[in-house]
Symmetry: C2
């Protein structure tokens, strides 16, 4: 576990030194001082410059070591070649954290840049001074007014202080996010841009923010991850403290990932595993910046529903239908109001549809008390967990707003904790007044409904138990030779607790006959050769073989077929295995992610996995709970649970196999680079499951 | 074919009478006159009022028949009970079209309202006067300034004239759309709200707008459709004239459709068939109002790409990755720039990534000529069909904008037709300047990329040939008895050209033996009884039966099984059919949509269709091209085309069967209410396809 409290100087500095300070408010070393004048930063500002005596009204120090008072944060605003000297001076002066904005480090790809960055890393480790950057755009804290960024957003906008904390690996995107947040009037806590992440990374920032009571939601822009353990620990801290995390992680597609590889020194991990880690950590993965800020804004009110039951009140029937569509699309329920509640509403509003969605029609505009009664009935008698109100644009009229606001403000006093989303158009100041009272205001109706679903998922995630510490003893690592044939792979997996088909490797017809005798029943006889890929195509597979003589003949036949069609192939004999049928075919596998390490994969049958991409991935090891969640996440899970007409499969056996495979992958992570079990047959309930074929790729193959 | 030109008085009236005009600009009969004063409507305005002499500066007529000049459009702003008299007077006066805003007609569900509406319909038919409404919010034409709506949007906003034509069945949603369009600064052509659609409906409006050269895109809000033929014809007019149509159709989910049923007098058709009709008509179906206006705005520039190759230029590597992700998600290509182009760009910008996405880094801000060179290279040497530029927020700086705008304006002169999307932040007036020059401006980068994909789909749709007129002779309707057993259903479908299994119905063991003799090979013997659903569960199915004796025995066995487990069931004998295996199981079916009539459905295998909902629906009859499109639209189509390891199936036989089934459905649409063919086995290429089981539900069952 890392201690995120060492990031306090970055987020809440009592004093800031600017090394390379400038009187010119256009220069990188001048802008932040100017901006802090505007934000009214209350801490000490120490400009450092070798010759100047006063900069933008502040006394200047010729060296950071001469300040003679504690310095929490130092902005190092000097060019790349001077950074190391300045950083060393800061460390000597006992600075808590330094921000390095210069580029020319590891991101260049050249030896000099890499060496400079290595020296920064070493300095940080040696001195304990945290370093943000290099090649970053600094920090901005809207709560304290501490600014170390040169981003020009502060020339165009004033950012409203609030609970949305942002962190971005990209400086440009971080700055852009600030502009978008300002333009939307969002209440912002802070922005940190981490650049090359030589020391401080976004993963650790999440951990700091998860423990900061002034933060209501954490919004991140990610391109990769250098510190998977910190990310996972930080996400767990956020869960424990009820802080929602929303992330835009780019490189979701192959071409995106390719571009990421050329862009940043951060190692862009395979997106599938990254995505699985984010999902397991309860992160809402946004598709774009718009969605990220929408979710962040929805979370910042701090109101969460207790369940999925949504009440909808609109002044337009079409709006009600649209909202109901959106609710279903987002996995919410739109329960019909109880009979007595419907009667009550119908008595008040004979013209209205009262089932839910409730359509008050535009007539409610002349009597907003009806709206309040509606909302009350839905909460008190309809057991709704959240309400969405759509009033189109009527609240733009000052006369309407005067009536409506009175009703809504009063309603809030009686139901202070309910999640109530006001959709449609409001004047900005009126929307702010609603938000101050804990209403969520979302212009688009369907987005408003979607946000209820997002908040409900966060609420459920917060209630989840912490990921269980591995209590069972992990198996010992296996002895994995340089190359394994199918039979050896199955044997290794069998030893690791994955149920596998009992197979025999035979090298003569006599051995084949003996094996058939021992195994009994109908058998498959399969050529064993690493050089021949599609064995059945060349006649290298015989099925339904019964008895010793037939087995001997089948052995001769597959060997002859191999010699005929691939005279130069190395032939290791044949594998004899019982024929098994009945059950649902699945695929199990292990991938080694360059960032997150081993992960297990589960897919349904060949067609499902390969054509429909219905596979689920999770970082290894997974416990029973995790394996269960994997099965639940399959789109085709009904096939295992017993679809129309088909019987349920032995899902517990599948779950046990996933756990065992994941442990095998974890303890052997240095020894293997991948596992395929295809097919893994899940038999009818109570009859277990069995791996029919397996491939293990040793690490150095 | 209907003639949409009769809607001209609604859209481009030279004169407007207001029946029930008022001096009070707050009243329904006063507001439009006030609004037309503001918009500067250039036509004649004739207030009609029994007592007043002047209203809002206009001379008043006591009766519409006394105006003594042609009246294109009459707004009937009187209460429900007076509407008919006013409408009759309008018709007598030769008014071209009347707008009825009063409610109290068919939407009330009572007899009086329905009767009044019927009389309006009759009046319209008799007189030729077109009637919009009742229960609607009128019209607004931003090009002419003709306003008959009382929507208060005109009190808050001025709408910019432009090419976006909107039509809405819901008045509230129509008015809300106007507010959103105004707030976004979109150039709007018109808004029509159609309410109860007693005569004029949105489908016909699409047809009118498709033929209006001042319209660049048609945006509709739909809750249902009363006039399927007009909708289909209008969409074809739009395709022919290159007018994109974007629609928000609510009631997409079951609960939504349920709400729609209670809301509107329009019959909300089954969404699956409605969706299929919209798809076939090339309509972009938006998920919400935001997306609808985004797409409308993207179309209004009138620039379309020639293909899917997207060039991306950003000042942030992360932006490039995000754009590339979005491109792949939306089915676009991000081709690498040719070697020589990359070299050329690298020479200009040694610091940049030049492959595509091109990341100029923020350094381009100091030399925007590099940006222009970039764009030129991408179009000239990279063969890009469209470009997306992401400059984050740098253009907010006046200094940057001065440089940037000069470069972009010049670039446009050299490449006037290229689709170029500027994403990121621009001041509103700067964005307008770009739009005037044919640039698309979209704040969100991923939305900007998505719009390129939307425009590309429209462009392909416009190029499609018109839906072929049915040239082949349709089959004669079938003689369908009140109830059909499986064998009879297969026989009917076989006669209609769907390949079916040759089956024999037998009622004695001797007949069974004779059938086995005639059919030969391995057979299935299946109990024939409409009263027993799961025949195999009770032993009512015997498979792999060979030879006459075995067939006789199997017959006795299935009859005995039926008598044992369901003594009261009516037993019709047994069906004997050849065993068929090998191939891909599909499901074919027919649904009867209450609005659009018969539609054919295609799904893949039981599990695909039932668990994964992988089914495709199309209105019958479909031709070969349509059936091919259906196969292409299956997510699991690879299974038919030959997935990894499996051989390709006889897709032409499947297509022929879909065509034949759709023709059967069409000619028998009055006689049947549904067909299921499950499974329909598509055998390996060249071996045909065959229906193994079928159910036909006669209409009155």
């Amino acid at each position: 576990m890392f201690d995120p409290s060492s990031l306090r100087p970055l987020y809440a500095p009592d004093s800031i030194a600017i090394v390379g300070a400038s009187n010119n408010a256009q220069k990188f070393g001048g802008r932040p001082i100017k901006y802090m004048g505007d934000t009214g930063y209350g801490g000490k500002i120490y400009p450092v410059h070798p010759r100047e005596t006063e900069i933008q009204g502040h006394r200047v120090y010729s060296d950071v070591r001469e300040i003679g008072a504690p310095v929490d944060l130092a902005l190092i605003a000097v060019p790349g070649p001077s950074v190391l000297e300045a950083a060393n001076a800061c460390a000597e002066a006992g600075v808590g954290a330094a921000v390095v904005i210069a580029s020319g480090f590891a991101e260049t790809g050249d030896a000099q840049g890499a060496m400079w960055q290595d020296e920064l890393v070493a300095l940080s480790r040696r001195s304990g001074m945290r370093i943000l950057g290099p090649n970053c755009m600094g920090t901005a804290s809207m709560l304290t007014g501490a600014i170390t960024t040169f981003a020009t957003v502060f020339e165009f906008y004033t950012l409203r202080p609030g609970g949305i904390a942002m962190a971005s690996q990209s400086g440009a995107m971080g700055a852009h996010l600030l502009v978008l947040a300002a333009q939307r009037g969002l209440g912002s806590h802070s922005m940190i841009t981490s650049g090359n992440e030589c020391d401080v990374d976004v993963a650790q920032c999440i951990g700091y923010l998860a423990n900061d009571p002034t933060v209501s939601v954490i919004a991140c822009y990610l391109e990769g991850c250098k510190n998977p353990d910190a990310l996972i620990e930080s996400l767990e801290m956020a869960r424990r403290n009820g802080k929602p995390v929303v992330a835009l992680k780019v490189g979701a597609t192959d071409i995106g990932a390719e571009a990421a590889g050329t862009h940043t020194a951060a190692l862009a991990g395979s997106d599938a595993v990254f995505d699985a880690v984010l999902k397991e950590g309860g992160v809402h993965r946004a598709r774009n910046l718009d969605e990220m800020l929408l979710v962040a804004s929805a979370c910042s009110a701090g109101k969460y529903p207790n369940g999925k039951r949504l009440g909808i009140v609109t002044i337009s029937g079409g709006g009600g239908v649209m909202a109901a569509d959106a609710a279903v699309d987002n996995g919410l329920e739109v329960p019909a109001m109880p009979e007595h509640a419907q009667k009550k509403l119908k008595a008040l509003m004979p013209f209205a549809a009262v089932r839910n969605p409730v359509d008050t029609t535009a007539q409610v505009s002349s009597n907003f008390a009806l709206l309040a009664t509606n909302l009350e009935v839905m909460l008190d008698e309809g057991d709704c967990d959240a309400l969405v109100i759509f009033l189109a644009y009527v609240a733009l009229s000052p006369r309407v707003w005067a009536n409506l606001s009175e009703i809504l403000f009063k309603f809030r006093e009686r139901y202070p904790d309910a999640l109530v989303v006001c959709t449609g158009m409001y004047k900005r100041e009126d929307a702010a007044a609603l938000e101050e009272r804990g209403y969520l205001v979302v212009e688009d109706l369907t987005n408003g409904v979607a946000m209820v679903a997002v908040l409900e998922r966060f609420a459920r995630h917060f209630e989840r138990p912490a990921r269980a510490i591995q209590t069972t003893t992990l198996p010992a690592p296996a002895d994995i030779p340089g190359a394994l044939n199918e039979s050896a792979a199955l044997a290794l997996l069998g030893a690791a607790g994955v149920p596998v088909l009992p197979t025999r490797v035979v090298t003569t017809a006599a051995e084949a006959a003996a094996a058939a005798q021992a195994l009994g029943g109908a058998l498959a006889v399969k050529l064993l050769s690493a050089d021949i890929a599609h064995k059945s195509d060349i006649g290298g597979v015989k099925l339904g073989v019964e008895g010793p003589e037939a087995a001997a003949a089948a052995f001769e036949a597959v060997i002859a077929a191999a010699k005929r069609s691939a005279p130069n192939a190395k032939i290791d004999g044949a594998v004899i295995a019982p024929m098994v049928s009945g059950g649902v075919e699945t695929i199990l596998g292990v991938v080694m992610d360059p960032v997150f390490g081993p992960a297990v994969m589960l897919g349904l049958g060949g067609v499902f996995a390969e054509i429909l991409d219905d596979v689920v991935i999770r970082r290894a090891p997974v416990d029973e709970q995790g394996a269960t969640a994997m099965v639940e996440a399959l789109r085709g899970k009904m096939l295992l649970q017993g679809a129309r007409g088909s019987e349920p499969s032995d899902v517990p056996a599948l779950i046990a196999a996933i756990v065992a495979l994941s442990q095998f992958a974890y303890v052997n992570r240095e020894r293997i680079s991948g596992v395929d079990i295809n097919p893994f047959l899940v038999r009818p309930a109570g009859q277990g499951a069995v791996a029919l074929d397996a491939l293990i790729v040793p690490r150095n193959e």
